[in-house]
């Protein structure tokens, strides 16, 4: 009585029937091999050594520190971000390869924490880059850090943790906030719009008046002059 036609067929995904399985597998692997770049901006960083070392040992979750932004998956912002530091944080974030996740540890990254009235610290980290997860506390204990990381793993596994796409889709918003703080001439060495095209993530908010402003001021990016330290000399004319 049942014919082959009655078997439900998922039509939304054409092509390889194994794609879903494969996606699931990729997400599983991704969530179990995370490299964190810990940008130790504030006092909250002090809870990371215990979280990493033998007592709490985040390596058993598959999480390890990494030394360079290019190889890292998670950017861990551990505390207050001064405006001067924020520039470096943004440069670092933009250099990371996608998919990338941002965790704001400490109350200071949520709303400035006890530096709420300081002229030198940025208040809301998620105005300048998409944040996947906040771990509030002043400062959060390693248990909280691990709980947060586990939550992120779950969200990566279930495919919810894709706020990095938001940076490409709404680049104009983030750039606008950055320009408001750093001035109109703000420019980073990463070309986000080209990257958004590469990932096929151009959204309605990718381009706007702030990116137009950027184009007006943009200086062409040049490769760095690679020389050894000792022959760095003043240019002679």
């Amino acid at each position: 009585m049942s014919s082959i036609k009655q078997i439900p067929v998922i039509t939304e995904r054409k092509g390889n029937p194994l794609a879903r399985v494969f996606d699931e597998f990729v997400r599983f692997c991704r969530s179990r091999s995370l490299f964190i770049l810990h940008y130790c901006t504030g006092c909250g960083a002090i809870e990371l050594p215990p979280a990493m070392t033998s007592r709490f040992d985040m390596e058993r979750l598959g999480i390890q520190p990494m030394v360079s932004p290019r190889q890292a998956d998670i950017l861990l912002i551990t505390g207050y971000v001064s405006i001067k530091t924020l520039k470096r944080v943004i440069l670092t974030y933009e250099q990371m390869g996608s998919p990338k996740y941002v965790i704001g540890i400490c109350s200071c990254t949520v709303n400035g924490g006890m530096y709420w009235q300081s002229y030198a610290t940025a208040k809301k980290l998620d105005e300048y880059m998409p944040v996947d997860l906040y771990i509030a506390g002043c400062m959060p204990r390693p248990e909280a850090v691990l709980a947060g990381l586990q939550k992120l793993m779950d969200r990566i596994h279930s495919g919810e943790a894709n706020s990095w796409e938001d940076y490409f889709r709404n680049y104009d918003y983030y750039l606008g906030n950055q320009q408001k703080l750093f001035g109109e001439n703000w420019q980073t060495p990463t070309d986000i719009i080209t990257e958004a095209k590469h990932y096929d993530l151009i959204g309605e908010g990718t381009l706007g008046k702030h990116t137009q402003l950027l184009e007006q001021h943009q200086k062409p990016l040049e490769a760095l002059d690679m020389r050894l330290g000792h022959d760095l000399k003043e240019p002679t004319e």
């Binding site: 405006i83 001067k84 520039k87 109350s107 949520v110 709303n111 400035g112 709420w116 009235q117 300081s118 002229y119 030198a120 940025a122 208040k123 809301k124 105005e127 509030a136 408001k180 703080l181």
Partner: protein, 189 residues
């Protein structure tokens, strides 16, 4: 020994005119001097009493008196004691002499004070920006600079009041000072 030493120090300090000495403890002496007598005092302390270490220069903005207070902390490794020399200078034009030729670390402290308070030190080797290299507002530690107004103008703020915290507060724990009472500008009278 220390008793002897302090008497000797007292005698020495008497040589400075207009000096007021207050002994805070056996190892701490506070000296208030007129601004123009400070180099002489430091020279005396360094040359004849072994106070060779300038550990800090601090600055206080007394905006109501229209004055800056500069405090020079010098330490002696021989008598293990600290002398804090206080002077007051006028807020306008806010200029004072550098003590770099007596104590070289003063270069750093003076540069820092210049950046934070806008005081100019004549004869200091470098009055360039120090830490706030990307700041172009007024010197932020001056009392007339309203940090909170600056924050309200340039930065946004968000509440953080999740349900679990509300529960805690309802039980009498958690945050005792609500944000609208901390943020003076948002205070509802």
């Amino acid at each position: 020994m220390s008793q002897e030493l302090t008497h000797w120090l007292d005698d020495l300090l008497e040589e400075i005119e207009g000096i007021k000495i207050r002994r805070k403890s056996s190892r701490r002496v506070r000296a208030d001097v007129p601004a123009d007598a400070l180099p002489a005092l430091l020279e005396l302390l360094q040359g004849r009493a072994g106070y060779i270490h300038l550990s800090a220069i601090s600055c206080v903005d007394w905006i109501e008196d229209d004055e800056f207070e500069l405090v020079y902390h010098v330490w002696s490794y021989e008598s293990h004691s600290l002398v804090s020399a206080h002077i007051r200078i006028a807020r306008e034009p806010g200029v004072y002499l550098s003590v770099y030729d007596l104590y070289q670390p003063a270069g750093f402290f003076e540069r820092d004070i210049h950046e934070m308070y806008g005081i100019h030190f004549e004869g200091s080797p470098n009055m360039e920006k120090f830490i706030l290299t990307e700041w172009d507002g007024p010197p932020p530690m001056r009392k007339e600079f309203d940090s909170e107004a600056y924050v309200n103008e340039h930065l946004n703020w968000q509440e953080y009041n999740p349900p679990w915290l509300q529960e805690l507060i309802a039980e009498g724990g958690g945050v005792i000072i609500p944000p609208e009472e901390q943020r003076f500008s948002r205070k509802k009278d």
